[in-house]
Every structure is written in C-alpha cells, then in structure tokens.
C-alpha cells in the first residue's frame, strides 16, 4: 500500500492508498491553502483581509467559500466554534507560527491582561464577494482550514473516481472505501501525551469517514508561569478549562468532525454529548478525561477494531 508524506500547514500530511500524482496534487493543494489562509504569513489573503479591517475588501472565491463554511459552523454551534478569534489569539500570545511561540514569549513585552474585544460587527456581502471586518477584529481560520482542505482534497479524488484512499493531516483524517475493496482502514487513536502510543484502534469499511481529534496538550505554551493552549472558550475568552483533555469525533465527513471535536472539548463532558446528539446524532465520540478515564458514545462500538481501555495513565514522560 503506497504512502506519501509531506509537511504542509505546519503539520505532517500523509496519504495512503492513492498514487504518487494524486498525492502530489493533495500536497500542492494543502500548500496553496496554507499560503492563502495562514494568519502567520504576511502575504496570505487572510492577512490582507485582516489588515484592511474596517474597510470593504473584495475576496477570492476560495476565501468566500471557506468563510461561508466558517460562518455556517459559527451559526450551527451557536458561536462555540468562532472564526473571529484572531485578535484574541494574538492577545494571549498565539501570534506566530506555533513552534516559535515559547521563544517569542521570552522576548516580548507582556500585557497584564488581554484586551477585551469591544462590541463590533462583521459584514459578508455574498453578491459583491466582499468582507468588512470591524477595526478591532481579526479572522482566524486556524480551527477550520486544515479539515476543510483535507475534505476538499478527498472529495475531489472521489469525484475523479478514485475508489479508495486516506489523507491524514496531523491527525485530522478522511478516508474512503468503495464497494470494490473491502479492506478496512484501521486508524489508531493516540495517547494525549504520546503520539506514538495507540490506546485503541478504529476500523472503517465501506463508505466515507472523517476522524478528527482535538487536544489541550497540543499547541500549548507557558506565559508568565501559566500554561495556555489554543482552544479558546468564546464564552469567556480564555483557554478552555473543561474536564476533557482530548476529544475524537467520527462522522461521514471530516470538516464537521474537526469542528465538533473542538466544541466538545470546550463544552466538557457534562454538556457536550447532549449538544452533539442534538445537532449531529450520527457522529461518534471518544473523550479522554483529566483523570485518564475514557468516555465514548454507544455508536463508537460500530467502529472499534481494538478495544479501548476504560482508563489510561496520563503522563507526559
């Protein structure tokens, strides 16, 4: 089974079951998405739009498409997924590509408290394909661009008749199998602190599947002695302090799974399951709690290939 690897969007991208030209197409597409939608690249279209906050800015079709998807999930999740957090992310210190954060924090002037965003507005004119951001806000597609890019790449391959394949961008995975090949895709779920250690396995047979995992242990950093991470609870503007440290969501498409995994991690184990059942009952989930316990939806059993333990030992060592 051929596998191809590349580093795109500051993460490891892997393809399986597709040929080299198709894999190249996927990698080039991911690179294009990064160049267009990164908050950390000055020349990206997103940076251009953010710099022009307060003014009407025409956007490309791809930008409009991704923005529409972001607003769709903003609406569906009642704002738990929020693409308007760019300014807040900068204020808490996520203002550069992640691997540079700790270095930057040693060398930047500290703000006592991140500024609170003032009342603001946003306009998206669909006919003119223009965006008007309020002067004090910034768009951030960090929570959606990767899943969207992988999902589009996979749907493009399926549209072109590719019968089987898998694309994995840093743990956000979409795979598909048509009826001609019954070999399942087997995907391991990693330990929150050890990517190499698998705590259980999922198997996917005929159909299309998205698998996404969100974790507080990733993209976290320390500032003034406090550990911060990138999953912001928009209800209070702070890194989520819910009781879940890692959430995995499985569904028929990747993008919703990526969004829901983040939302569940923010909402916590008390409110999250009912919330997900209400908006997307077909999705399955697996939580790893702060004490190492695993909580899973009943429909996760449909995908289990190797049983998960009831509890894992949480240790960063």
């Amino acid at each position: 089974m051929p596998e191809f690897h590349s580093n795109q969007m500051n993460t490891h991208v892997q393809t399986s079951g597709i040929n080299a030209p198709d894999a190249c197409e996927v990698f080039e597409w991911m690179s294009l998405v990064e160049n267009q939608f990164s908050r950390f690249l000055e020349d990206s279209e997103l940076s251009h739009v953010n710099r022009r906050a307060g003014q009407i800015t025409l956007v490309s079709q791809k930008f409009a498409e991704l923005l529409f998807e972001a607003l769709r999930f903003y609406s569906e999740t009642s704002g738990i997924f929020n693409p308007f957090l760019g300014q807040l992310m900068c204020e808490i210190g996520y203002d550069c590509s992640f691997e540079k954060i700790n270095y930057q924090h040693e060398h930047r002037d500290k703000e006592e408290n991140p500024a609170q965003s003032a009342n603001t507005f946003f306009t998206f004119d669909l006919d003119q394909r223009s965006v008007t951001l309020s002067p004090d806000s910034m768009l951030d597609f960090g929570g959606i661009a990767k899943g969207w890019a992988v999902q589009k790449a996979v749907l493009n391959l399926i549209d072109h008749g590719r019968p089987r394949g898998l694309v994995n961008a840093g743990g956000d995975i979409m795979c598909w199998n048509d009826t001609h090949d019954r070999t399942p895709w087997v995907i391991g779920v990693s330990h929150p602190y050890k990517d190499d250690q698998i705590i259980g396995q999922l198997a996917f047979h005929i159909g299309r599947w998205g698998v996404a995992t969100s974790s507080k242990t990733k993209r976290s950093w320390r500032d003034s002695g406090i550990t911060l991470h990138h999953l912001i609870d928009p209800r209070n503007g702070s890194p989520s302090d819910s009781d879940i440290i890692q959430a995995t969501v499985i569904g028929p498409a990747l993008l919703p799974c990526e969004i829901y995994a983040k939302c569940l991690l923010i909402l916590g184990s008390q409110d999250g399951p009912a919330w997900l059942r209400a908006i997307q009952p077909d999705c399955a989930y697996l939580f790893i709690m702060e004490d190492g316990q695993l909580i899973m939806s009943s429909n996760l059993n449909d995908y289990i290939h190797e049983q998960f333990p009831k509890k894992i030992i949480l240790s960063a060592q």
Binding site: M1, P2, E3, F4, G17, N19, A20, E25, L32, E65, F68, L71, Y74, S75, G79, N82, F84, L88, S117, N119, T120, F121, F122, T123, F124, D125, L126, D127, Q128, R129, S134, K146, K152, D159, H160, G161, P163, R164, N168, G171, I173, D178, I187, G188, S190, P192, K194, D195, D196, Q197, A212, S214, S215, K216, T217, K218, P234, R235, Q246, T248
Partner: protein, 240 residues
C-alpha cells in the same frame, strides 16, 4: 443584495449571526463551492482513472514479491531501551532500504542519546535522511508480542530490486549501549524461501540486561503484493 451580518459582542459571547435574505443558514449550500476542485485555477488537473479497480491507484512497480520479517518483541522496563530498527542490505553490504525504526531514534533522538541504534544509523547514513524518509519509517511503540514487518522488494527510492540474495537486519537497544543485532539472508526471485536470522549481542554480555527480541525469521512469498497484507495501522489520529 445578500448580506451576512455577524455581531461579535464582548469576548464573542453573543454568538449570533443575523442573516439578511437567507434563512436556515446552517443548511444551505455554499454558494461559492462550485465543485470539489482543489487546483488554483478552479479546474482540477486530476486525470480520470483508467478503471474502477483499486489496482489503478497503486503505482505500477513490478516487484519480485514480498518478504515478511517476523519477530517476537518484549518490553523492557528500563532506561534507554526498546529502540528497534529493520533494514535491508545487499549481499555486499550496500544499504538498500530501512523498513521501520522506532520513532524516537528515527526522529532524531540519537542527538540526545548517541547509543541509540548506531549500526542502523551508520548503515543508512540516517543523519542525512530526508523528512519524507523519516516520516515513512517511523515506527510507533508496539505492544509486546509477535509482529511482522514487510519488505516489498523495493529500494529506498521505490524501485524494484533485482533478483538475488539480500540481508535483513534488526537492531535493538536493550540498555544504553547494550544491543542485540539479528542478521539473516533471504533470496528473492521466483521461488518462495524461508530463513532464520542469527543473533549477536553487543557487547557479548548485553543479554544479561534482558531479552528485547527473539525468533526473528523471514519468509519470501514470490509474486505477493504489499497491498494484500494486513499491516499495523499506518495512521493515528492525535490532537492538533
């Protein structure tokens, strides 16, 4: 004119989108998604497949067959241990390909611990391996038990190797510089073959620190394809 107005209040607490000229916003089609095209020109360059079979999507590398290297792995509960690497050399000792290597060492952990898999690193010139190569061979932690790693009879560049006798090697760190190395020869060609590997402990007393690997043996299955075997999952989902 269709407009979406999204008031963002305080620290984004309101979470309300006010829609003009649109209803059921969450369920409408994306007006900007004309297709699933992923090219910059909005016209995908992907060719149509020549057939609907899975074989159409596997590179046409005609290989001799498949070598399955079987081994029993133990877990040693001690420092600087449990690192393993599998690689292939030709009969003259020229490096052919790394099959798998523990992710700590393969990913550069040897900078911190130079005792990690020195024989494999020297044979493969691993310090100069590409990122793609590193990512290809990184072996996730395996549970104790019987495992198989496969060689599809291609070299590091993906080209099919010529018929002949090849050497498969497995190196494991038992405890710091104490290692075990298994070496076996296997002939790939038109006939199925089986061989067992010979073990050497380095230094000779290394075995006193524990057994990491045993019963390393290989089977060559002429004409068999890598696509036909069930391997350990190549893919993990982890937090991002």
């Amino acid at each position: 004119m269709k407009k979406i107005l999204a008031p963002v209040v305080g620290t984004l607490g309101a979470g309300v989108i006010i829609l003009s000229s649109m209803s059921n916003f969450a369920h409408v089609d994306n007006p900007f998604s004309l297709s699933h095209s992923t090219s910059s020109s909005d016209a995908s360059s992907l060719p149509e497949p020549s057939s609907q079979t899975n074989a159409a999507n596997i590179p046409d590398v005609q290989t001799l067959g498949l070598v399955a290297i079987n081994y029993r792995l133990f877990h040693l509960n001690q420092l600087a241990s449990n690192q393993i690497a599998f690689w292939i050399e030709d009969e003259k000792g020229n490096y052919v390909k790394t099959l798998r290597a523990s992710s700590f060492t393969a990913g550069g952990g040897y900078d911190m611990r130079p005792e990690s898999l020195p024989e494999w690193r020297k044979a493969s010139n691993w310090a100069h391996a590409s990122k793609t190569e590193v990512n290809r061979v990184k072996l996730p932690e395996q549970n104790a038990g019987v495992h198989t790693v496969y060689w599809d009879c291609t070299d590091a560049s993906g080209k099919a190797v010529k018929p002949g006798t090849y050497v498969y090697k497995v190196e494991g760190n038992i405890y710091w510089q104490n290692r075990v190395v298994f070496t076996g020869k296997i002939t790939v060609g038109k006939k199925d073959t089986q061989t067992a590997a010979q073990v050497v402990y380095k230094p000779a007393g290394a075995k006193s620190h524990g057994v990491l690997l045993e019963n390393v043996h290989a089977d060559f299955d002429s004409g068999k394809s890598i696509a036909s075997v069930k391997q350990d999952p190549p893919t993990n989902t982890q937090g991002s």
